[in-house]
Amino acid sequence: MTAPILRLDDLCKHYGALPVTDHVSLEVGRHEIHAVIGPNGAGKSTLVGEIAGSIVPDHGRVLIDGEDVTGESVAARARRGLARVFQTSRVIKDFSTLDNALLAAIATDGTAFRFLTPVAGETATRERARAALDRVGLADRGDVLAGRLAHGEKRALELAMGLVQAPRLLLLDEPMAGTGREETERLTELLASLAGEVAMLIVEHDMATVFRLADRITVLIGGAVAICGTPAEIRADPTVRSAYLGEGAP
């Protein structure tokens, strides 16, 4: 039996008296796309932070590949194959779009400690970066400073940076937030094309995207798991329907 790529074991986190993560346990299988949905302030980003390692839980464990990584740094978890797309875009603004992708490609090789070989001469790595940009539709934006990209393009760039790392688990915190309809559809199809190749945990408000991609959905309300199930189960659940999805739900 192989361990799931991600397992959360009774995770808790309080900000003051406010429980933001309330005894959360969940699993993401090796080829699963797992969506986390919930109203604003439900604790979704906090949960992503606890998985990535930037937020330390008060209690509980995070296991990647069956190994307890609760005490590990962000960088150490990334080296285990975790890639993250932040809720607010985090690209290196002063670097070109291609250099951002290149930075992520270099990260896959594992070392920053190369002192004399010019980055410009690392052709194989550069080609991988270019291919990733191509995949998200930024092929002709490589020379533009990342800070100058339109919002949707920044999201696409972050996704490219995630892909170029060839991650085993992609953490996506509202990757479609603020992108146009057309772009959302394009990025959704791109993620769908990766199904089976890489496991994903995706936080998303866009229900069309969620129901198109997810194998399973966890609904988070007030920091606690309200329900976890297949899209069909979630859609059918009357409490979720009234509490969160609303009447117009697909």
Binding site: A52, S54, S73, V74, A75, A78, R79, A83, R84, F86, R90, V91, I92, K93, D94, F95, D99, L102, L103, A104, I106, A107, T108, G110, T111, A112, F113, R114, F115, L116, T117, P118, V119, A120, E122, M161, Q165
Partner: protein
Amino acid sequence: MTRALARRVAALLLHPATAIVGLALAVALAEAFGWNFAVTLATRAAILALAALSLSFVIGQGGMVSFGHAAPFGIGAYAVLIAGEYGIREVSLLLPLAFLAAAAFAVPTGALALRTRGVYFIMITLAFAQMAYFVFAALSAFGGDDGMGLAGRATFAGARFLRSDGNLAWLSVGLLAAAAWVLHRVVAARFGFVLRAARDDEARVSALGFSVYRTRLVAYALGAGIAGLAGALLAEQTAFVSPALMNWHRSGELIVMVVLGGSGRLAGAVLGAIAVVLVEEFLGGVTEYWKLGLGLLILAVVMSRAIDLRALLARIAR
């Protein structure tokens, strides 16, 4: 037409490599005409440019605003003094020793300082430099507060090569050029690439799997080591070492050089250092208040809304 030409000439004149070549020319001319004063001045400029260059790497590329860079500089000088007292006078040993001593100071202090950010980092680096200052001021075997003269200039491969001020000038300019070349390579390589990315967005870079802390620490130690080389050269030049080398004034002066040169541009600091040394030399001779002149220079740079000296000169050229 003439404008474009003037701009071209200005760009060439202001190129960092030009500043180093200019120093070399100054040394050659001064030697040819026997102007000892100019040889000394050019050597001093090259030495301080080396220290400022290393700080420019730490601040501009690493985003670590150290207010204690005089400490590794002074430690390099003390390495020469102390090794000399134990009979080591060979420059090919003294320079690596100075580098290692300064880097060895930077590793533990940097490891602590790098746990802080922003103003706290500035203050803690200052605090460590002040600690170094007081430790060396307390070393009575090596002159304590007053400092101590070197027994003599170092030898090179056994020969008394550095007896000549001219040779010391060439060594200083040569080391400056070598350090500029190496740092230039490092900045263009992965290490510098990741370092700069982390300066812009640390969370992004660690989320990619890089250890930002370790990368910065290595950069901090490398910068300190090069400052140690500069300190060793200054000890050779003045044949005298005192805790005053580690004074916080000097840390501040090095920052001024970096800022004048434009902190984003690695080798701009060379130009900044030359400017400060010249102002100090010529205004320092005229008035005790030479720092006022330096202040005016900084003001002029800031007021012109040019961010650095290079941009200011370029603006004047236009």
